[in-house]
């Protein structure tokens, strides 16, 4: 008996067994000739359809992969020449960026340091708040409070970054100027605060998911040993969810380092070294965004190199994220 069955699937196997059973009974063999013909035709058609759908899915899946590859290759091709011309040390560690001067300088150390400081600041400020919020939401809050607060957090994630920038510009920048009595409130501190708020949703959502996934049996065991609920959350639940929480932090770092619009609006956008919290500074992202429109020649190439550096940072962060998530999955 011939059967179209290119790969061993449960269905084919089932059919096979049924066919075998049919053979044993003479009565059924006689009756089975006609249905089998239809069956064969049917399964052939099904297989062709299966293959077509398979192909469509593969094609669609390849679009995303193709885009990533294209962008990577493009960034390398356009970013490497300028680094070569400027010199990698001068480029990465040059302390001055003066792309439009008569004697142009292309040192991006100010941008790199600003991006690192800004992200670190946002993490230092945002992670404790996000972490505590997620412990509260996952373990302490009543179901009603939890659902209301989680919708609020989702809403926070949905606000466009230009709105963060706008609010930062109108509220935060003047606020910093008044509180700290500095000539201009736009600078590193304002950017850090805006970024800290922007990374809250990703940290909270992912940490809550991780904490919710901690088996209740662990917590019961701890409570039965006489630990209080708070002790239980911090000594059992949080350690059990630590991979997920670490991944949440890394995700937040990724969001912070890649943010352009909001920080451009509140950071002052001057290519200074980030010497103080109130210094007007420029991030890697905003360096590209603010000059690209009117750039030309080596300046334009150098902007691609800046983008390449940013891209490397993000790749590194993604690799770290994958590491944490994989470790979580392997447990």
């Amino acid at each position: 008996m011939r059967r179209i069955c290119s790969r061993p699937s449960i269905f084919c196997f089932g059919d096979f067994i049924m066919a075998k059973k049919k053979k044993t009974s003479t009565e059924q063999v006689i009756h089975s000739t006609e249905p089998q013909g239809i069956n064969l035709d049917h399964s052939k058609k099904k297989q062709i359809l299966e293959n077509i759908v398979h192909g469509i899915f593969l094609l669609l899946g390849l679009i995303a992969v193709g885009c990533v590859l294209l962008i990577t290759v493009y960034l390398f091709i356009s970013g490497v020449p300028a680094i070569h011309k400027i010199g990698i040390v001068d480029f990465l560690f040059g302390r001055e960026w003066a792309s439009t001067a008569a004697d142009p300088k292309y040192g991006i150390l100010p941008f790199i340091l600003t991006s690192i400081y800004g992200t670190a600041g946002a993490v230092i400020l945002g992670v404790p708040i996000g972490f505590m919020t997620s412990v509260y939401l996952s373990k302490i809050a009543s179901p009603r409070v939890k659902s209301v607060m989680q919708s609020a957090v989702s809403l926070l994630a949905g606000i466009p970054s230009v709105v963060y920038g706008l609010v930062g510009m109108l509220v935060l920048v003047p606020g910093i100027r008044k509180v700290f009595n500095v000539p201009d409130g736009a600078g590193l501190l304002a950017a850090i605060i805006v970024l800290a708020i922007m990374i809250l949703p990703s940290i909270i959502k992912m940490s809550v998911t991780a904490l919710d996934a901690v088996p209740k049996e662990y917590e019961d065991a701890s409570l039965a040993l006489g630990a209080t609920p708070i002790e239980t959350y911090f000594r059992v639940s949080v350690p059990a969810a630590k991979s997920g929480i670490a991944a949440a932090v890394v995700l937040g770092v990724g969001r912070a380092i890649g943010e352009a619009m909001a920080v451009m609006m509140v950071a002052g956008n001057v290519p200074n070294m980030p010497d103080s919290l109130f210094q007007s500074v420029r991030f890697l992202t905003t360096a590209v965004a603010s000059e690209m429109a009117y750039s030309s020649g080596l300046q334009r190439q150098a902007l691609f190199s800046v983008a390449l550096v940013l891209f490397m940072f993000i790749m590194l962060i993604n690799a770290t994220l994958n590491f944490f998530l994989k470790r979580d999955g392997n447990k």
Binding site: E217, A221, S222, A224, L225, G226, R235, V236, A240, K331
Partner: protein, 251 residues
């Protein structure tokens, strides 16, 4: 023999549903009391009431009294942490924390304020010895507790419960998730532990009740049908329902 826990007219509701009805029972000290009965009869609920683990379930209402060494455990002066230190618990499924074997056992003592390394080492070793698992794990105390077998995990959980030096040990079907060999090791261990502790064990397995327990309480539909010496209950039950259950006519 004196009783360490006495329950007086206790009722328990989950919302509108009455799960336990007018229970009166005296649990004798330094002996093993088995709670038997069909699924859903309230025996696990009753067990969890003794160390107030039911407090965690929303909608639970309890009336009546439970006295532990003469103190009403529902009184406002009672510190739940302290009560649970006195009345330890072992769960149905082995549930070691995802940390090292040592830290699992040391968790309880640390919670109750013991931080000195020497003292902790001593407590951990003693608890593991009492739970008859020391020889198997002494060379890998720093290894993750999730890496040992299910039977070992359950003995580790017993060690963890013993490390806070409770007087009573509640066990909720501690062998139902284990193979026969691990089960028999745990049964031996339970009988050994009765020298130092009062044990209340919920079991579905009537042979187990006969093998290990001194006293047996038979629950049915939230009521305590019969309570007495295990030998009496199984040889000459006073109540028809008990007889039907232990002879396998239902449940």
């Amino acid at each position: 023999m004196g009783s360490i826990i006495s329950v007086k007219d206790m009722c328990l509701w989950y919302g509108d549903y009455q799960a336990l009805k007018d229970l009166n029972i005296e649990i004798p000290e330094k002996s093993i009391t088995a709670l038997i009965g069909p699924s859903g009869c309230g025996k696990s609920t009753f067990l969890k009431t003794l160390n107030r683990m039911n407090d965690l379930i929303p909608g639970v209402k309890i009336t009546g009294n439970i006295y532990y060494e003469g103190t009403d455990i529902f009184s406002n002066d009672v510190d739940v942490s302290h009560l649970r230190k006195e009345i330890g618990m072992v769960f149905q499924h082995p549930n070691p924390f995802p940390m090292s074997i040592y830290n699992n056992v040391a968790y309880g003592p640390r919670t109750h304020g013991i931080t000195r390394k020497v003292q902790l080492d001593e407590i951990v070793e003693q608890a593991l010895r009492d739970a008859a698992i020391w020889d198997e794990v002494k060379d890998r105390l720093k290894k993750n507790a999730l890496g040992i077998s299910g039977g070992q995990q359950q003995r580790l959980c017993i060690a963890r419960a013993l490390a806070i030096q409770p007087k009573v040990l509640l066990m909720d079907e501690p062998t139902s998730a284990l193979d026969p060999i691990s089960t028999s090791r745990i049964e031996d261990l339970i009988m050994e532990l009765k020298k130092k502790y009062t044990i209340v064990i919920v079991t579905h397995n009537m042979q187990q009740a006969v093998r290990v327990s001194d006293y047996t309480a038979f629950f049915l539909l939230g009521e305590l049908v019969e309570f007495g010496k295990t030998d009496d209950i199984f040889s000459q039950p006073k109540d028809k329902r008990t007889e039907d259950y232990i002879t396998g006519r239902f449940g």
